[in-house]
Amino acid sequence: MAYSFNFGVIQANLDKFLLGLATGLALALAAILVGVLIGLVCAFAATAKPRLPRLLVAGYVSAIRNTPILVIVLFVYFALPQLGIRMGKYESFTLSLAVYAGAYLTEVFRAGLAGVPRGVVDAGRAIGLTGYQVALHVVMPIMFRNSLPAMGTTFISLFKDTSIAAVIAVPELTYQARKLNTETFRVAEAWTTASALYIATCLLIAAGLRQLERRFPKF
């Protein structure tokens, strides 16, 4: 059976694909912003003196990292309404992805915190900064800078995970590809275009990250 690769199909639908790509990026961005907040709180909680916060954080990280993201997405979207928590698709997916990201970022920030030299903390205390001030003005800036590479790879990972949003009919890139596939049966065009867009975006983000790391190297 002769199959001719029809670029015209790609051209006609490129705008939908690009919109889908942008949607995916936006979801990933929203998720990582919330995820960073969760990760920061949990990373500091994990170093707290009382046992309860440490156990809670460990439980959260372990539970999320061992559960498939799809199950989390479906749970948040379908099961939470039973508890009275109703959300639109976008909010629901962003929440799921943020909770997922938070678990990974907690570990990233814990490693970053451990990498802050003790002496610098001493120096902060020695000039009379309170514990809170040391954390805010000394530890966090250093930790963030050192965590930059790991945060970057987490973001790329999250961007790829936005493909899962297709399952709850969020019109991002994978959804559009599947739609094109089932509507026009142009299988090769749909999937090669989608893949190419994902790969290109990941490569661009990675290159951007390398530049960023060169400009802001680790301390």
């Binding site: 559960t67 749970f75 999937w191 994902y198």
Partner: protein, 217 residues
């Protein structure tokens, strides 16, 4: 609570079969994926220039693509090309390709981190490169990557849940069927998550124990 236990009892075979299939697919894909990754990794570390370039394209392309897209692509493209794979086979195919790229990169890294002096030592006692690879390099590489390999196994278990979308009757698919019947989304999606957690938790434990036994240092 009684309603849930009652429904759980009704659903026990379906869930059990789903869980079994999840484990089977994950195990098979890590097995095939590791074999593929071995070939890719060795090619990337020691291959000729065109071979390395080819493998690089494969690895970067697969790693830059979301698993779900890979699964869809394999599912639709294989069917379109006339290869009549079942959902299970198609899924296994996609996961193997995914795992192969992942493992290939890991094995390449491990092989390249072995001091070149090891190869010299092997040559000095008269081994061919082929033998050096099997008896000197790969054993060291495997010891090094053991924790990452275990981690990849857990990742595959999680990725296998995506196969539900193409109709593979593994754990998540079975859960969705059950929920479609009794609408107990909270309980059964919760249970589903807990079961995946359990499987991965066991893998994590196994990995730590194996790591302790086989650690190089």
């Amino acid at each position: 609570m009684e309603g849930f236990l009652h429904e759980l009892w009704i659903a026990r075979w379906a869930l059990g079969q789903g869980l079994l299939l999840t484990i089977a697919i994950s195990a098979a894909s890590i097995l095939f994926g590791t074999i593929l990754g071995l070939l890719v990794g060795v090619a990337l570390a020691y291959g000729s220039w065109p071979l390395r370039w080819l493998m690089r394209v494969y690895v970067d392309a697969v790693r830059g693509t979301p698993v779900l897209v890979l699964i869809f692509a394999c599912f639709y493209l294989l069917a379109f090309a006339g290869i009549n794979f079942t959902a299970v086979e198609s899924g296994l195919f996609a996961l193997t390709i995914f795992c192969g790229a992942h493992m290939g990169e890991i094995i390449r890294g491990a092989l390249q981190s072995i001091p070149p002096a090891q190869i010299d030592a092997g040559r000095a006692i008269g081994l061919t490169f082929h033998r050096i690879l099997i008896y000197v390099l790969l054993p060291q590489a495997f010891r090094q990557i053991l924790p990452v390999w275990i981690n990849t196994g857990a990742e595959l278990v999680k990725s296998s849940s995506l196969l539900a979308i193409i109709g593979t009757a593994e754990l998540l698919f079975r859960t969705q069927e059950i929920v479609g019947r009794n609408f107990m989304t909270l309980e059964f999606y919760g249970l589903c998550g807990a079961l995946y957690f359990l499987v991965n938790f066991c893998i994590e434990r196994l990995g730590k124990a194996a790591g302790r036994r086989f650690a190089l240092q």
